[in-house]
Amino acid sequence: MLLRDLAHARAGDKGDTSSIGVIAYRAEDYARLERLLTPERVRAHFSGIVHGEVRRYALPGIGALNFVMEGALGGGVTRSLALDAHGKCLASAMLEIELPDEA
């Protein structure tokens, strides 16, 4: 299944850093996201786009994970040559992550 089936997301930008909030639709799915959606998994998904560190902050109270990805915006929003210089579309790209079906 895709992450999209369990969660929604929004991307923000600051300089060359993209931050993406990933939010479980249902509170009971949060633990699963926390287990499966590791910074390593996210970094691998964005290889070729994200060139720096990926940090993850957990907000269990609202069932959300916040990913902060450095070196993700082609040197920074204002000088990036990318069509989507802000990396707004990265939130949807995040939801493409494949998750194993739970046994």
């Binding site: 929604h8 929004r10 060359d16 850093t17 909030g21 939010i23 940090r55 907000l59 920074g76 204002t78």
Partner: protein, 444 residues
């Protein structure tokens, strides 16, 4: 009964819609209406505009927005706070007074907040930039340096009777925090309340992004009536808790989910959302449904401010040159790929000097890459863009795309070309004392 105030968000960026702000002013039962219109780079561009014309350098829609909302605001005593002053808050305040006079609103009291411009104090110093290098290293490429001011001087303007407060660079949540400080008499060291107020300000600062704008994903997250999206308002209590909602009957929706997306928007460490007034802590925030299109916000807090201010530094970074051309129908992808190879070779042959160059096929690999097995697209658009030291060099990129018409693959069409100046933004931290907030008063 607990005292509360109602604060609305009339804009979340400089190009935002105006009619939802009018709807809020007329039907929101507001005490305050805040317009956030200043993106990171906007102020550097505004600084360049001001260098060309001393009365320019503020938001292009300032007059239109004031024209639209001032009558309703004056009638109901709604005070306006906005950063539409950009690089020239004084000229912007004069414009607000002029619009008010034109509307017959004589005596309207306007305050302009200056002091965020720290370019003269910073120029030539060894202050380290977050992106590497120092301010001195930028030399004469430096265009602007503006510190993010806090809520205190805005609260002071409101206490002084300002009906409209026009600022340059201030922290976005501070424009919402200031009315709370003013109305509830919060101490500027009351970290939990300043933290909670910052949570509310952060949720409101992007206007429609919390009422269902930028949220819809058909079949997964449906939002009614985006064409008539209502902007948010918050009823804030003196403890800093709030009820976030919108005008009944307006488009969009307010749910815990819309609020959660906005709560995390552009946040790094949610335990330390650093603001000039406070380090806000979002980790204990609760967002509970409270009826139709209403969410109760509680549980925010904060710790002491750092004493440092973030500064946005604008600098000249050369010129972008860009060209695009489309290919469609059978073989579109192959012709697009051929065109890409031809332009790459041409730019090598003419010896183009570009510091950065990128050749994408829109529809294939322009945004997130092609993936493992891309389906053959029915149409693709080649996009070639580079950053060059001169406008003349940048222009050659568009020229090479344009010349594909008679020299490239078959049936390419829809060429567009552009050349634009690049103002890059860097950031650094300075001691708060470097900024010198000052209020200037005008009357319509």
């Amino acid at each position: 009964m607990t005292r509360s105030i109602r604060i609305g968000a009339g804009a979340g960026f400089s190009g935002d819609r105006i009619d939802p702000a009018v709807e809020l002013a007329e039907q929101g039962g507001l005490h305050y209406l805040v317009f956030e219109c200043l993106a990171e780079r906007t102020i550097a561009l505004a600084q360049l505009a001001r260098q060309r014309d001393p009365e320019a350098g503020y938001d292009k829609l300032l007059a239109a927005r004031m024209q639209a909302v001032l009558p309703a605001c004056r009638r109901q005593g709604i005070r306006i706070v906005t950063n539409m002053g950009a690089a020239n808050p004084l000229a912007a305040a004069r414009k607000v007074a002029e619009v008010a006079r034109g509307l017959g609103l004589a005596g309207l009291k306007v305050a302009a907040l200056t002091g965020d411009d720290v370019a003269d104090a910073l120029r030539g110093t060894e202050t380290p930039l977050d992106e590497g290098g120092t301010v001195a290293g930028l030399g004469n490429r430096l265009v602007s340096a503006n510190a993010y001011l806090g809520a205190a001087p805005i609260a002071e303007a409101l206490a002084g009777g300002a009906e409209v407060v026009v600022t340059g660079r201030v922290a976005d949540p501070a424009m919402f925090l200031a009315p709370m400080i003013r109305e509830f008499g919060w101490s500027l060291e009351d970290w939990p309340r300043l933290g909670r107020g910052t949570v509310v300000g952060h949720l409101l600062e992007c206007a429609g992004q919390v009422t269902g704008g930028y949220f819809a994903d058909p079949g997964f997250k449906d939002v009614p009536d985006l064409a008539r999206l209502g902007f948010p308002l918050a009823e804030v209590t003196e403890d800093g808790d709030a009820l976030l909602t919108k005008v009944p009957g307006s488009g969009g929706r307010v749910t815990p989910a819309t609020c959660k997306e906005q709560l995390l928007y552009e946040v790094h460490d949610p335990a330390r959302y650093l603001q000039p007034d406070v380090a806000a802590d979002f980790t204990g925030v609760r967002l509970d449904p409270a009826g139709e299109d209403a969410v109760r916000i509680t549980g925010g807090t904060g710790t002491a401010r750092t004493g440092m201010l973030k500064v946005s530094v604008g600098c000249h970074e050369g010129w972008f040159g860009e060209g695009q051309i489309s290919y469609a129908g059978p073989g579109a992808l192959a012709r697009g790929e051929l065109a890409r190879a031809v332009v790459r070779e041409r730019l090598r042959l003419i010896g183009l000097e570009a510091e950065d160059l990128r050749l994408d096929l829109i529809g294939l690999d322009a945004i997130i890459g092609a993936g493992s097995a891309p389906a053959e697209p029915r149409e693709v658009r080649l996009r070639v863009i580079g950053r060059c030291a001169s406008a003349a060099a940048a222009e050659r990129i568009g020229h090479e795309v344009d010349s594909l018409y008679l020299n490239g693959p078959a049936s390419g069409g829809g060429v567009t070309t552009s050349v634009r100046e690049v103002i890059g933004m860097r950031s650094c931290l300075v001691p708060a004392a470097m900024a010198r907030p000052a209020l200037h008063w005008l009357e319509a």
